[in-house]
């Protein structure tokens, strides 16, 4: 909401410097976003009168205009088509700053010589002054403009641009802001007189109004003005409209807009002649009806929309936009002026459905007071008579089916203390309330006030609403600062959250970079991960901002692959990323299941280029090492088993099993999948762990194990087995012997030195007993038993 300070001054004495006023308004809830000064650069521009206009001796289309500036007269060359003798115009002397009509930049006016005649200044267009975009002719000032007065003094202004919160439709008006300013500076407001002469026939004889759907229209007021003359509105009104960001159109439309800005009540002017049957019906639209709105678009109506209709057809979309047929245009002489109160919810639905948000609809939807309708109507009628030369019919139409009485609100001092944590003197409270137009009486019990709320404050309904008024006018700085002092509530354990944070820390410790990606994904991304649609469908967003963000992801894979690819494009050479985030699994008629999932991706160089080490690429076992670290830190006993996965390379993929349950998968990204994401690194390893599943399995309680007191004996064991025997199988067998305390695989070999189809695995086995020192014989015997069992169960032989 833009407010001109000159206009504001009509209703309240602005005793504070602009900055301070803006600060007070901001603190009290109406944030002043910007302060714009109109005419900031108008030094050297003053009001002149055209005293003589002659033809340029050497140019047909140029004129010599003599401008009286009070103290002196200046003759200049002009090409303006609209100058006439006697007119008052803004005149800029050499040195003044004007906006260049073509470039839009502010430039200093220089003396000009046109066809041999020198000009020491120029008359200006609105555009050159920065008032509007009009540049066709010189701006013509009203005849009463005083010659010689600096233009800034005459029509400079300061515009506050305020952000009005949706609960304060009353502040979407200059008078509303004036009331705020008055309360904040402890003064009264001067609201204009709205009386006018009623000369015509009684209005009941001229028009009738019926509200067919009173649930959507609580009040409808109308006046009728005949014999109006359509033309431009006066300069001052145009200026104020422009200052508030509205375009002047004609005196009639400008008056309705002006009163809307002044009071916050939207109005609509109909061409009375076009209202068939001289009857206005406020009703719901019909499904087969349509209406050409003022913007020339045919709108299909329905029963959810409220329309203003005459005897036969809709003539306006109530509170949203007028119809083209009843538009006030030049031959119009009689105006039917509407000032009504429509139900905000319906206006909001209609305007959103039709994508027609207007100044009017945005006020109605916030719920303005029905009491405002006749007041604004009379004000507009008064202006119509004054500025368009009309005659008003006697009386106004006022149909008010939604009349409601507002009971006073009881406000106790005790409640004020309970909410604000501070006690205020009762007289101070009453003074604050009164400055806002809220009258209060001491009621019965000591310390209780009975507060009557003025009609325009539709937002105040509870004692707590009044408490906010007190706090914001007194200022929040007066509220003390205390700490919570009640007992600290019981906390419930949140094992998933702690697991998730632990996982994050462990992975960071493994050298992985955490990423956070969007929960939204695209059909294309889902397809890349699941080309044959083997997985269930993803949840779709009905109104996505873009197709990139149309679905909720069902896995983290696509996010990480895309993230990997993007960083590869940025020439990152070692990429190790992980994300712990939710995936969204649809559950029919319920909210989706949101599952905390871990995924990681690795590829590129194992370490940065270094003079210390050979260049080497990350591989499957780097990723596996990360997972092993993770599970070991979580005290979960994980095993890995070959598995197939549509995104991962066959033979290079394992599922992760904890307690017999699959909790995740690990593998090299399938070259086809990598290609879909434009990933060029090879290999790229991906892993995925279902944290919720892990939660139920991991984290065996930590118990201290005594440090072994007896020495250990180490033996190496080099075996030759068939190449397809899993190392873990041998390792498990070795580990199953009770004297074995640790098994480490330290060499894997397949090549010339072993038979074809075989591989050699070398283990370092440590033997130890918690009870005694082992003898060589015991160890040799156990090792022999191990070898025999390995041979029996896996065909392993000792490597000779």
């Amino acid at each position: 909401m833009k407010v001109s300070l000159k206009w504001l001054e009509d209703y309240v004495n602005l005793s504070l410097p602009t900055r301070e006023l803006a600060e007070k308004l901001t603190m009290a809830g109406s944030e002043v976003a910007t302060i714009e000064v109109i005419g900031e650069n108008w030094e050297g521009i003053s009001i002149g009168q055209v005293t003589a206009l002659e033809k340029h001796p050497d140019a047909d289309r140029l004129l010599l205009a003599t401008i009286d500036l009070g103290e002196e007269s200046i003759t200049v060359v002009t090409g303006a088509p609209n100058l006439e003798e006697g007119q008052k115009v803004p005149f800029a002397r050499v040195g003044a700053q004007l906006i260049d009509g073509h470039t839009g930049e502010l430039v200093k006016l220089k003396p000009a010589k046109i066809r041999g005649i020198r000009s020491e200044g120029m008359a200006c267009s609105e555009k050159e002054l920065g008032i509007s975009d009009r540049h066709e002719g010189i701006m013509i000032l009203p005849p009463e403009a005083p010659v010689g007065m600096p233009l800034f003094q005459y029509m400079g202004d300061t515009i506050l641009d305020l952000s009005i919160t949706p609960n304060r439709p009353d502040c979407l008006s200059v008078i509303g802001i004036a009331r705020e300013a008055a309360a904040l500076t402890i003064q009264a407001t001067h609201i204009p007189d709205i009386s006018y002469e009623e000369q015509g026939a009684p209005i009941e004889d001229l028009v009738s109004v019926e509200i067919a759907d009173p649930d959507l229209c609580s009040r409808y007021c109308a006046s009728l003005v005949t014999d109006v003359k359509i033309g431009p509105s006066p300069q001052w009104m145009q200026q104020r409209l422009l200052a508030c960001g509205m375009r002047p159109i004609s005196n009639i439309v400008d008056i309705t807009n002006y009163v809307m800005l002044e009071y916050g009540q939207p109005l609509h002017a109909f061409d009375y002649q076009q209202v068939k049957g001289k009857k206005v019906i406020v009703r719901r639209g019909k499904d087969n009806e349509s209406l050409f709105t003022l913007d020339g678009i045919e709108r299909a109506l329905n029963t959810d929309m409220l329309v203003i209709a005459d005897e036969t057809d809709p003539i306006a979309l109530a509170g949203v936009m007028g119809g083209a047929d009843s538009e006030v245009i030049d031959p119009t002489t009689s105006i039917l002026l509407e000032s009504a109160n429509f139900y905000g919810g319906s206006i909001r639905r209609t305007s959103m459905r039709l994508n027609l948000r207007s100044e009017a609809s945005s006020r109605f939807e916030k719920g303005i007071s029905p009491e405002l309708a006749p007041i604004a109507l009379r004000r507009a009628t008064q202006l119509l008579i004054e500025l368009a030369g009309g005659k008003a019919a006697k009386g106004i139409v006022d149909v008010y089916p939604g009349r409601m009485t507002r009971e006073p609100i009881t406000l106790s001092r005790e409640r004020i203390g309970r909410i604000l944590g501070v006690e205020f003197d009762i007289e101070r409270i009453r003074e604050v309330l009164s400055s806002l137009g809220l009258s209060s009486e001491l009621a019965g019990v000591s310390g209780n006030l009975s507060v009557a709320v003025p009609y325009w404050r539709t937002d105040i309904n509870l004692a707590d609403d009044l408490i906010e008024e007190i706090a914001r006018i007194i200022g929040y700085d007066e509220i003390p600062t205390t700490m919570l002092h009640g007992e600290i509530p019981e906390r419930l354990p949140a094992p998933l959250l702690s697991l998730r944070e632990t996982v994050r820390d462990i992975l960071v410790g493994c050298g992985m970079q955490e990423v956070i990606t969007y929960s939204q994904t695209s059909q294309a991304m889902l397809d890349r991960i699941d080309p044959q649609h083997k997985l269930g469908p993803a949840l779709r967003i009905a109104n996505p901002m873009s197709l990139e963000q149309e679905y909720l992801r069902t896995s983290l894979r696509a996010s990480l692959l895309a993230c990997f690819a993007a960083n590869e494009r940025h020439k990152q050479e070692d990429i190790r990323l992980f994300e712990v985030g939710k995936v969204y699994l649809p559950r029919g008629n319920d909210l989706p299941e949101e599952r905390e999932t871990l995924a990681g991706i690795l590829g590129g160089l194992r370490c940065d280029h270094s003079w210390l080490s050979e260049e080497d690429t990350l591989d499957f076992f780097d990723a596996k090492g990360v997972l092993e670290t993770l599970f070991s830190r979580l005290r979960a006993d994980a095993s890995f088993k070959p598995v197939e996965d549509q995104n991962l390379a066959p033979g290079r993929t394992a599922e992760v099993i904890v307690d017999g349950q699959k909790v995740g998968v690990l593998g090299e990204v399938h070259p086809r999948t990598a290609a879909l994401f434009d990933i060029s690194s090879q290999p790229v390893i991906l892993f995925e762990v279902d944290l919720e599943k892990l939660l139920s399995l991991a984290g065996a309680e930590l118990r201290y194990q005594p440090i072994p007191r007896f020495p250990e004996i180490a033996r190496d064991l080099a075996l030759v087995v068939d190449a397809d025997i899993a190392a873990s199988k041998l390792q498990d067998i070795i580990r199953s012997f009770s004297l074995v305390s640790q098994v480490t695989l330290f060499d894997v070999y397949s090549g010339d030195k072993v038979p074809k189809g075989k591989k050699s695995l070398a283990f370092s086995v440590r033997y130890q007993s918690p009870q005694r020192t082992l003898t060589d014989e015991e160890v040799n015997r156990t090792q022999q038993e191990i070898i025999e069992r390995l041979q029996r169960e896996s065909g392993a032989t000792l490597r000779s």
């Binding site: 603190m27 009290a28 809830g29 919160t165 949706p166 609960n167 639905r349 945005s362 719920g367 909410i419 604000l420 944590g421 509870l462 707590d464 609403d465 408490i467 906010e468 706090a471 914001r472 929040y476 700085d477 509220i479 600062t481 205390t482 700490m483 919570l484 009640g486 600290i488 509530p489 419930l492 949140a494 994050r504 992975l507 960071v508 493994c510 050298g511 970079q513 990423v515 956070i516 969007y518 929960s519 939204q520 949840l539 779709r540 967003i541 009905a542 109104n543 901002m545 963000q549 993007a566 960083n567 940025h570 070692d574 990429i575 190790r576 909210l591 370490c607 270094s610 003079w611 210390l612």
Partner: protein, 346 residues
């Protein structure tokens, strides 16, 4: 005999002079002090000598032995010293060469700040609870005093899920704020409650340097007997100091959120210009950081808390804005595009 010992002494000393390694020294020790050395033989042969000579020779031999042992110790030390000096001399490093790189993992800056903020509130007795990203209209709006067709819905441009009820309503959405958890938590617990809710929120919004379709919020609320706006002020001002520094000033101004009454917005004095006015604070000297207020009595009533007995406060803040302010980041889109060149700075 004495003369033989003297000759032995001068030979031993002469040889010792030219020795400069530990191994050479050991050979010398064996030669002159070992079991088969001439000196040991002299000592062993003493018994056969006549008494007078035995005494004199014995004293001289023992004296020579002690002398050689002492000399050996001194020489050992000298050689060790010179060997250390030699190894240091030979083993000098170019200490300016880069170290061996270790893989460096990092948390996402959002996670880091989220944890920091949670820690601050946990120290004040708040508990961390999370909630669903996909919500019902009821929790996101209606239960928070934002019914259908309420103009305040414009404050939250909403992404709706493609999900329709039989009567044609579309009640499933991506939460636009973390406030729905006020309702969910209060529905399941009796006061007192003190909870913070971090999480992702979503908006139907074209993205640019200051707008994202997904970002993080932290909601906080406390409900009990005797909680006042003064407590809200105390809690949040303390939070601002712990997050932005002890010297920060904070202020409340009136603002509107349908689910609180009174509603406020908190700002801190600009840490770039210390309140004088600069580009960061758009000249005002203050930077808005969060919205807050006293929980609306209708909200309490809806979860069956008696507003005449219980009062409470609630607040919500956007995380990325804090990060942007703290680190001078000028584009919010950097957070979730996960460019390593960005992430590795934190």
């Amino acid at each position: 005999m004495i003369a033989k010992l003297d000759e032995l002494r001068s030979r031993a000393l002469g040889e010792l002079d030219s020795i400069d390694t530990s191994s050479g020294l050991e050979a010398w020790r064996i030669r002159y002090l070992g079991r088969k050395s001439a000196l040991t033989e002299v000592l062993r042969g003493l018994a056969t000598l006549p008494l007078e000579e035995k005494r004199a020779t014995g004293a001289a031999a023992n004296e020579l032995r002690t002398f050689l042992e002492k000399t050996l110790t001194l020489k050992e030390e000298a050689i060790r010293e010179s060997e250390i000096a030699r190894s240091i001399e030979q083993g000098q490093l170019d200490v300016t060469l880069p170290g061996r790189p270790s893989a460096l993992g990092r948390l996402h800056p959002t996670t880091k700040l989220l944890r920091h903020i949670c820690d601050i509130f946990m120290a004040m007795g708040f508990e961390v609870i999370e909630g669903p990203d996909v919500e019902w209209d009821y929790y996101n709006f209606e239960a928070l005093n934002i019914p259908q067709d309420h103009p305040a819905r414009d404050m939250w441009d909403t992404l709706w899920m493609d999900f329709e009820t039989e009567d044609g309503r579309q009640p499933m959405l991506l939460r636009t704020h973390t406030s729905p958890m006020q309702i969910r938590v209060m529905e399941s617990r009796r006061p007192p409650v003190r909870v913070i809710v971090p999480g992702k929120v979503y908006r139907y919004e074209a993205t640019d340097a200051t707008h994202e379709a997904m970002f993080y919020q932290i909601e906080g609320f406390a409900v009990d007997k005797n909680i006042t706006l003064a407590d809200l002020k105390g809690t949040l001002f303390e939070f601002a100091k712990r997050l932005f520094g002890e010297e920060r000033k904070a202020r409340f101004r009136c603002d509107y959120f349908p689910f609180v009454e009174p509603g406020v917005e908190m700002a801190i004095d600009c840490f770039l210009c210390n309140g004088a006015g600069c580009q960061l604070c758009s000249g005002s000297g203050w930077i808005e950081i969060l919205g807050a207020g006293m929980v609306h009595p209708d909200v309490l009533r809806r979860v069956d808390y008696d507003p005449d007995v219980y009062t409470g406060f609630a607040f919500g803040l956007g995380l990325e804005r804090m990060l942007m302010l703290k680190y001078g980041i000028d584009d919010i889109r950097l957070f979730y595009s996960n460019d390593l060149r960005f992430l590795r700075q934190f």
